[in-house]
């Protein structure tokens, strides 16, 4: 089985973003970028499938600006075999990304696509679902456990009420949740080795995909900020304040 993992380059999740003064977006200059944490989990899971013999080849795909190569390299250093960069400076929406991924998938014919449930920049939580619809494949979202079966996958999904187990036919799109695994760090030798792994570069035009945005971002603002309140010394005082001042008890 061949696996494709789409990966996204985002602002490092530990950094508190700042809104630009002209309110056109968030500041991306001189900000530490990293692989979206959910994509790391998807890469890790796929590497484990390779290590267990369930998969033969692992291809990572990133759509975005030239610097997305770095994210692909990170995945290659973790253990992916080769990368595909779909290069464009147009801001990409999940619908456009899904179309680009679909074009690559039709060429590569993987048995499984593993991806993050959500990119922590725009918090869209859409791309896997959209891709599965375009391919008319089975879909498992928010997955915290994957078992590989002869003709499909049994997955555990984290849903609002608890857990749900479903069986998916192959090929399938699976989006992963945080508790699936703990991603590895790339070792220095593997980082060196990754430099020689191939990355192919394509463009939306070459794939015949129109990526014109459908949703215009009119402005981006800071959320209203909360002020730190007062300190209390004991339970009596807390209950008194919640009852008489805040009136929530």
């Amino acid at each position: 089985m061949k696996i494709i993992v789409p990966v996204k380059r985002v602002i490092d999740a530990n950094i508190k973003v700042r809104v630009k003064t002209d309110r056109s977006g968030v500041e991306l200059n001189n900000v530490k970028m990293a692989m979206n944490p959910f994509c790391e989990i998807a890469v890790e899971e796929s590497i484990r499938m390779k290590e267990s013999g369930a998969a033969e080849e692992l291809i990572v795909v990133a759509a975005g600006p030239q610097q997305s190569q770095e994210t692909i390299r990170t995945a290659l250093a973790m253990g992916a075999d080769r990368g595909i960069l779909i290069q464009t400076d147009v801001p990409l929406e999940p619908l456009a990304i899904s179309k680009l991924l679909k074009a690559v998938i039709e060429r590569e014919e993987p048995g499984l696509v593993v991806m993050g449930k959500q990119a922590v920049d725009n918090d869209n939580n859409q791309t896997g679902q959209m891709l599965s619809a375009m391919l008319n494949w089975s879909l498992g979202t928010f997955v915290s456990k994957i078992e590989i079966e002869d003709d499909g996958f049994q997955v555990v999904r984290e849903v609002d009420g608890g857990l749900e187990t479903v069986r998916l036919s192959r090929p399938s799109v699976i989006t992963v949740d945080l508790r699936l695994n703990e991603p590895r760090y790339a070792s220095l030798p593997n980082i060196m080795k990754a430099r020689r792994k191939p990355i192919e570069t394509l463009t939306p035009d070459e794939l015949g995909v129109d990526v014109t945005p459908r949703v215009d971002v009119l402005e981006v603002n800071e959320p209203p900020s909360r002020q730190a309140g007062v300190r209390v010394a004991n339970a009596e005082e807390l209950i008194e304040k919640l009852t008489n001042e805040a009136k929530v008890l």
């Binding site: 959500q118 679902q129 879909l139 857990l163 036919s169 508790r179 971002v217 402005e219 339970a235 304040k241």
Partner: protein, 310 residues
């Protein structure tokens, strides 16, 4: 043109998230229809018909929809979506799973997790774990939207008297099958709708220690939540997680116990009306958003709070 909401339910009862979604959709148009897809779900369709503001219920009932498998349910939504200017669903795991699959079938760029409606085509939504609010305008002819339920009041459960129309089911997609549910059973209120939430973090140290929080919760009529660290450590099930990638809550009172206040946790609770933080580290970031901060060891503070509530 009319607007449609997709009803979230378990074939017996409507989920509360549906009521908030109705309120959001009503801001676009009063001619509001509700779509119920399920199996043996007459009770749900009748309840949907009674929701204040619902003008018509469209029901699609077949065995293949019993477990809401998205490969089967999405084509039903797709089949009626073009009758509407907008299709809404809650941004719960139900809506997040379903709506983008429908959007792609319609070639529409969905707008996720909106917290405010500016006009027919313009919406506000949090991005970057709520550290920024984007105002976005959709240019698609049908708008597919998921709603942050805590940002909209619940519509009344009674007052409507809509007709129920049956839709013809489509065939099983044959792509997936249901195996089992392991749902968390609790007598306490649901996390996302409770008016008081008490959450524990890594500071709780064990699942057993959550019993302390549960006793306080029962005295307050509160729901119990958790940070990701507490869920990862296995103290409580995954559906307790509050935050950017867990549940978003906005109760009247949120009590964070042994939680440091990482941005991803704040993303899920900072719209609460009143926030209380109990933490032994007076530098913990959670105190920066807390209306009432209590610097204390939780193992003495929580029993003290429990006793004081008598």
């Amino acid at each position: 043109m009319s607007v449609l909401i997709v009803v979230e339910h378990d074939n017996e009862q409507i989920k509360a998230s549906t009521l908030n979604t109705v309120t959001a959709a009503m801001q676009i148009d009063e001619d509001l229809h509700a779509l119920v897809i399920g199996h043996n779900c007459d009770a749900v369709a009748s309840a949907a018909a009674e929701i204040e503001g619902v003008k018509k219920v469209r029901k699609c009932d077949a065995a293949d929809y019993e477990y809401g498998l998205v490969e089967n349910v999405a084509p039903v939504v797709e089949g009626v979506a073009r009758d509407y200017s907008h299709v809404f669903a809650p941004a719960s795991t139900f809506g997040k799973n379903l709506m983008p699959r429908v959007a792609a079938m319609l070639d529409v760029q969905q707008v996720s997790d909106i917290s405010e409606i500016v006009s027919d085509d313009t919406f506000i939504r949090p991005i970057y774990a709520g550290n920024a609010l984007a105002t976005v305008r959709s240019t698609d002819d049908v708008k597919l939207i998921t709603v942050r339920t805590t940002a909209f009041d619940a519509a009344g459960e009674h007052g409507g008297s809509a007709d129920v129309e049956s839709l013809t089911p489509s065939a099983d997609a044959g792509l997936s099958s249901f195996v089992k549910h392991d749902l968390t059973r609790s007598e306490r209120p649901e996390l996302t709708t409770a008016s008081i939430v008490i959450s524990g973090g890594r500071g709780m140290q064990s699942g057993d220690n959550f019993n302390m929080l549960e006793r306080v919760a029962d005295k307050l009529g509160a729901a119990v939540g958790a940070s990701r660290a507490a869920v990862d450590a296995g103290y409580v099930p995954n559906d307790y997680q509050v935050g950017q990638t867990g549940k978003v809550v906005a109760p009247d009172l949120y009590i964070a116990v042994g939680i440091s206040g990482a941005i991803q946790h704040l993303a899920g609770m900072k719209d609460s009306k009143v926030i209380v933080a109990i933490n032994k580290d007076e530098e913990a970031p959670i105190f920066q958003v807390a209306d009432f901060g209590w610097v204390a060891d939780l193992f003495s503070a929580i029993p003290e709070l429990e006793a004081a509530l008598d």
